[in-house]
């Protein structure tokens, strides 16, 4: 059985009871790994406690940060400061300037758009230069806030046209928004993503993003194509 990954879980870090509920539901749904989206200034002990809560239910966690920058400079500063701290870096595109920078920058793993905002959307130009993956959060689709179905379908069409990798995530902040991998794939397939791509978007694509970043964050990593194979004994 493949391991299912949900890279966008936003638990209320101060509410351990809610975290436990989310963890329990995710485990029941069949997820083995999640991207724990936490604030950049979160204390280490609190983060450790939240991660422990998830690991109690056999759900592995990786840390993730969402940048919702208003300007290019702000985004670049945030990337410089936090890229090495988190396993996954995602950018919520609030305007076109930020979206273009996020799509071009190789430090960005995931790019996602506010589905309710019709002004900022994935364009051909952005899809063409996107280095990471485009992420689709299912929570706004489930909650049907606004006419999001059309926006989602359009993103899928553009992704297919430009061979962009699509990651399917939940973007949930409470247990009621958890959906099983079967449902995530079905929902994406119904909205226009080919079924095979939808399955990859919840298994191999997010997993490879995590593995690549973990490799990069290991002390043996020097740069792309260069790593330490053996250290001189002291």
């Amino acid at each position: 059985m493949p391991s299912f990954v949900d890279l966008h879980v936003l638990p209320h870090v101060d509410d351990i009871k809610s975290c436990r509920q989310i963890a329990q539901t995710l485990a029941l749904a069949g997820y083995s790994m999640i991207g724990l989206t936490v604030p950049t200034g979160l204390f280490h002990d609190r983060l450790a406690e939240v991660r422990r809560t998830f690991s109690d239910y056999d759900v592995e966690t990786v840390t993730r940060v969402d940048f919702a920058s208003r300007s290019r400079g702000e985004l670049l500063r945030s990337l410089r400061k936090f890229r090495t701290v988190f396993d996954i870096v995602a950018v919520k595109c609030l305007n076109d300037h930020v979206a273009h920078v996020a799509c071009r920058d190789r430090r960005v793993d995931l790019v996602f758009f506010e589905l309710e905002n019709p002004k900022v959307r994935l364009t051909h130009a952005m899809a063409n230069m996107l280095r990471g993956c485009i992420e689709l959060n299912m929570a706004p689709v489930i909650l049907r806030t606004g006419a999001v179905y059309g926006t989602v379908s359009r993103q899928f069409v553009l992704a297919k046209e430009h061979s962009v990798k699509v990651v399917l995530s939940s973007g949930l902040d409470r247990a009621e928004l958890v959906r099983s991998p079967i449902q995530m794939v079905a929902l994406a397939a119904t909205l226009g993503l080919p079924r095979i791509e939808a399955v990859k978007g919840i298994t191999s694509i997010p997993m490879s993003a995590v593995e690549t970043n973990l490799k990069k964050r290991s002390p043996d990593y020097i740069e792309e194509g260069v790593r330490v194979v053996q250290r001189k004994p002291r």
Partner: protein, 101 residues
């Protein structure tokens, strides 16, 4: 007529009865795919265990994906939040009973 069976776990704060779930299910399919879609999917609540909050729902084999999508879009609103999780799909009820037991 061949059917596909879905094992659904209903997560809700308040307990849900069989009739309530049937209404929610038909409402969700109708809302998402319309009357024609409803006829094509042909969803049927086969079994409902209110103690375990599990249900077995049947549909036409070619329309499983649509039924799964319709089930995903059920959220119950702010007052009575609900999450139906599709845990398994099988060609027989017996196959799902194994998972239940």
């Amino acid at each position: 007529m061949p059917r596909r069976y879905l094992l659904v776990k209903v997560l809700a704060d308040e307990s849900v009865t069989e009739d309530q779930f049937r209404d929610i299910l038909t409402g969700a399919v109708r809302k998402s795919f319309g009357e024609i879609g409803y006829a094509r999917i042909d969803p049927k609540l086969v079994r409902f265990d209110s103690k375990r909050s599990t249900a077995i729902v049947a549909c036409k084999p070619s329309m499983v994906s649509e039924l799964e999508a319709a089930l995903s879009l059920i959220c119950g609103g702010e007052k009575a939040p609900m999450a139906p999780l599709v845990l398994q799909v099988s060609g027989t009820i017996k196959g799902l009973q194994k998972r239940l037991n």
